[in-house]
Structure formats: structure tokens, C-alpha cells
Point group: C2
Chain length 334, copies 2
């Protein structure tokens, strides 16, 4: 298996990418190779910081780099020689089996969509993210790829999340919930009340109904479906609330004797680097998107996520399920 | 000053209401009276739990009580003898200067709107709430009164929040931000990109632009404006994330020697009872809505909030500002 890693994505690229790839190779099965895509000289210079570079880590030269200022939708035409576009094409052409990038989320999403194409039956691929929770992590989608959604888009997210939760998170018969402002069926805005009506009669989904903001992380569901605006706000808010509360605890400890608390252990579950990256679901390939500030650990975990997606044949499984649930013949019903 | 308190709002009414009113009377100025509205026998029975009932606490009998099952919009017609409807009418008729209730949020909002009416220029009164933050608390509105908003509704929320932040939170020239999924002007969904265009040219507001989920509680603004769906989800999510993280810390402490940490102190800022209640802004009166599970402390603080709103003449100030900013003559422009 060969994973394509955009070497020029993080803020301090390619430092995190090279270190993360080396860490990943130590842990992943020996048939996994990683191809770093980016400026060869820059990557080779970074190699010098490490004692040994295994054969399983190679470089594919791409002279250009996408900057955050680029309009996401124009990258594919304006930056054909960028590590992002070159890397995604290596995946599309079959040279690599998955793609990982910590470049600008908008650019990676748009270019993934242009390059890998949406699966038949999927109008809008969706960015999925996992939230730390009282139980096992909860899958939230859409996390920002799609705003101004219609009910049938949220139904598609539900199917994509359903497959991801099974193949990647080990959940059998995942509980799918709709994020809403009340639990009762009629609650919500136009989007959610309309989505509820569709999800209720959707077959092949274990739809458990509405879930409110207060219940998302209370282990009442495995997958939470929402519009990308709400999902994106929530995801970012979660990080900042966690940071804020950790700060409150830290402030209380200042100047006190060693209290023996291992808060790093307590808060490990909140560390986004543990998850590594967010997959773009519903495209014809594996595309995992990382934070721009990803440390090596996050890159390593994103590579592991990508490897797992390839190993579980997630894309083919998604294509089958989606064709069944959302394909042309099923469309008549909705 | 006379504050009307719905005695039958909390889950264990009138226990919290009576205890909270007694606490409030100890702290508020001696010209403040509180009128408990509800079943006289039930309230008098609760009085027996307390040593002394001051003259400033009285009862106004209302035999009926609104249950959570009632459709909010029908309460005014179906439950005319309820503590909620009777209490709000006492406020409207001038017998009381403010109204506080821990009844079902939807019912209190709808009945407040029917009874007190929206201020001229306000299409949709808005529920405001304060979020604990790294700096002073941030006012978030709408927190759930309005879903499916249009840009001009969010502009109205901005004006209502602007006045509240000045009169009630002591902020001069409050920084008004729009909750969005990116900081740049063009970002967002139809609602937020349209709202941004209106707010940018709105006079009389210190509009500081878009704010992302991660920045809400980072002291970059005093007021955050959003659709009631997003606001409601966020508000409830905040509470559960705080609870979850506190739980992580507590779990780490289990079985350890006394570590001398005063986490109650650290987390006091997160206690919703400290805030007490959420005001409904943009109606022709003071209506403060509390959690159904409010402890006496929350009721006490909601009564203090109501007293402060009366003292600062918030409603008249709001009416003036709103007429200026949103009245018929200003409407032409938007």
C-alpha cells in the first residue's frame, strides 16, 4: 500500500510531515510505503535532520505550493504543479492508495472533489470529524464542507457517516442522530424538520432521532448529522471551550505544591492530534485533511487513518452502499 | 419596584422560587418587592419551610400551571389562569415592573411576546444568554427564540445586544461580532454573508466583523450574533462540554490524597446558576427566563438581573435605540 503525503501542508512544512511519516512507518505494517510530495530539495534538506530514511519513504517532486490565500476552487487550474494537485493526481491515477494533506482545508476539499470526483449518488461530499465524548468518540458531519444544505444532503451525510462508523470506528449498526434544538419530531428549523421526515423513513439506517447540543457527547449516538455551518462552529467551539476549562484548572494549580495530578493523561482524550485528520467522505478515494498546525503525531495518526481506510476498502463499501441507498433508482422515493 | 415571579416554573416549584425570592430580598435594595404568582395554598405551604416571610414577599393567586407538554403558542388562550399568563399580565398592566419565570422556555417566550408585544421596529424578539469566557462574559443572541432567520433579523439582534451590553453588562461601545465559519468578509452561508453586508454599513454599532467558533470566548467581542438554531446548539453544547471536562479532572483525582485544589472556585465561572436567567430582548417589558432545574441561587440571580434591567430603564432605552436604528424611516435603507 502506498500513501501519498502532501509534504508542504503544515505551517512549518515539511518538518511535521517528514517526522510524522517516519513515526508512521515504524508503526504501520511493513507493506506500507509513504510518498512525500513537494519540493525535492526542501524535503531532502529536512531528511538531514533524521538519522536514517527508510526505503519505504520516498519523494515525488512537485515544485509549487498552495498558499492559504489561494481561492480553493481555483487551485486545480492555477497550481497544477503544487504538491496538493500533484499528490491528489498520484492517488487518482492509482500510484497511491490514499492521500493526506495538512494544507488549507478549503483547498484540499475542493481539489479532492475535482480530482477524485463525488461517488455516484452523492451530491456533496462531506468532511467528517470525531469529537471526544463520554463514551467512544462521536462522528460529526458535516464539519464545514457544505453550508446551506437541503434535507437530502443531510440524508447523504447520514449514509456516509453510517459506513464510516462501521468500517473505521468499529461500530455495528451505528446510532445515527440529527442535531436539533429539541428532541421531539416536529422541532427545529426548516432544514432539520425536513431532514427528520426523510431520515425517519430511510431504510438501512439506525436513525435514533434528534439530539440536542447538550447530548452530542453523552454517548447517545455514534454519528451526528448537521449542516456544515453548525458543524464547523461546534467543532471549533469545542476546542476553545476545552482549552478555556483546562486553563481554569491550570490557573487553580499555579503556586501550589505538586498535586500528583496527571492532567495530561486526563486531557489526552481532548488532544486533536490523537485523531490526526478529518476524512472527506463521499469522494472516489481516501483524502484525509489535517490541521495546518499539525505536530508529527497528528500526521502520523492521519497516515494511520488513511491506511486503515485503504485496508477496510472503505471507498468501495461506501460506493456500494451509497448506490443502493442514494442511487438513481432510490431517488424517486425522496 | 415590584418584580413578578412565576412561582410554578421550576421542576420542583415552588421550592426554588420561594427560597430564591427570599435570598434576593436580603440582597436587593429595600424598595424591591417580589410577587409570587401561583397557587396560593401551595405557596403558603412552602412558606412554612422558612422562619420568616417578609412583607416584601407576597402572593398573587393563579390556580393553573403550564405543563411542558403545552404547545407554547396556545398557552395564552388555553391557560389564561396559569401563573405564567397571570404573571405576565401583571407586568403588562404595570402592577409589576419585571417578570421572571423558570417555566418551559418556549411557553415563556411565546407568552411574553403575546403579552408584552415586540417593540416597534423589532420583527423578532431574541433570547440572549451570556457565555463564560476568558475575559468578561460574552452575550450570545439569538439563543433559541428564532430559527430560519433572515439577515435583517440578525441586524436587529445586533442592536438589541448592543443596548443590553451597555445597560446591563457595563460595556461602552460594545464590540459586536457575527458568528461565522471564517473571518474574511465573503465567508459563510447565505444568512451570514448577507448579514455581514448589512452589518458593515449599519450605523450606531461597533461591528468588529466575523468571529469563528474558536474565538467566541476569547475576549475578542462583547456580543455574538447568530441564528437561534446555532445559538441554541452552542449554548447547550457548552454546558455539556464543561461538564465532560470537569468529569475528566474529577476522574483523575479519584483515590488521590487531598490535592488542595479548589475546583469549585475554578469552575464557578461555568455555573449557569451564577447568571440566573436569559432575558428576552425586544419586547415591551422585562422578561427573564430561567432553566427549569434552577436552584434558589439561579432564581435569586435572575431576580437581581430583572431588578437591574428595571433600574437601568433598559426597555425604554431599547425602544429609543431600536426606533432610531430600525424604525420605519430607517427601513428604507435596508
Amino acid at each position: 500500500m502506498r500513501i501519498i503525503l502532501d509534504a508542504m501542508g503544515t505551517d512549518h512544512a515539511p518538518r511535521s510531515e517528514v517526522a510524522g511519516a517516519l513515526e508512521a512507518l515504524k508503526e504501520l505494517d511493513s507493506d506500507v510505503e509513504i510518498v512525500l510530495v513537494g519540493d525535492r530539495d526542501t524535503i531532502e534538506a529536512e531528511f538531514l535532520q533524521h538519522d536514517e530514511i527508510p526505503d519505504r519513504l520516498s519523494i515525488h517532486h512537485a515544485p509549487d505550493r498552495v498558499t492559504p490565500e489561494e481561492s480553493p476552487s481555483k487551485v486545480i487550474r492555477r497550481n497544477p504543479e503544487s504538491s496538493l494537485v500533484v499528490g491528489l493526481k498520484l492517488h487518482r491515477d492509482g500510484t497511491g492508495h490514499a492521500f493526506v494533506s495538512a494544507g488549507s482545508t478549503g483547498a484540499v476539499m475542493a481539489t479532492s472533489l475535482f480530482t477524485l470526483r463525488a461517488l455516484p449518488g452523492v451530491d456533496r461530499p462531506s468532511l467528517a470529524t470525531t469529537l471526544p465524548s463520554a463514551g467512544a468518540p462521536v462522528l460529526l458531519l458535516d464539519a464545514g464542507a457544505n453550508v446551506d444544505c437541503k434535507p437530502h444532503h443531510l440524508v447523504q451525510f447520514a449514509h456516509l457517516g453510517n459506513i464510516y462508523a462501521q468500517d473505521m470506528m468499529g461500530r455495528s449498526d451505528p446510532r445515527i442522530a440529527l442535531l436539533n434544538i429539541g428532541e421531539e419530531p416536529g422541532k427545529g428549523d426548516e432544514l432539520t424538520s425536513g431532514t427528520y421526515r426523510l431520515l425517519r423513513r430511510e431504510t438501512g439506517l439506525n436513525f435514533v432521532g434528534n439530539v440536542e447540543g447538550r447530548d452530542i457527547i453523552k454517548d447517545v449516538c455514534d454519528v451526528v448529522v448537521c449542516d456544515g455551518f453548525v458543524g464547523n462552529v461546534l467543532l471549533k467551539f469545542y476546542e476553545s471551550v476545552a482549552e478555556f476549562i483546562i486553563g481554569l484548572v491550570e490557573a487553580e494549580r499555579v503556586g501550589k505544591a505538586d498535586d500528583g495530578l496527571d492532567l495530561d493523561h486526563a486531557f489526552r482524550v481532548l488532544d486533536y492530534a490523537e485523531t490526526g485528520g478529518a476524512p472527506l467522505l463521499g469522494v472516489g478515494g481516501v483524502s484525509v485533511i489535517c490541521h495546518g498546525e499539525s505536530p508529527p503525531k497528528a500526521i502520523r495518526n492521519a497516515l494511520a487513518l488513511a491506511a486503515k481506510a485503504v485496508r477496510s476498502d472503505m471507498v468501495r463499501h461506501s460506493a456500494q452502499e451509497v448506490a443502493l441507498a442514494l442511487g438513481p433508482s432510490s431517488r424517486e422515493a425522496s
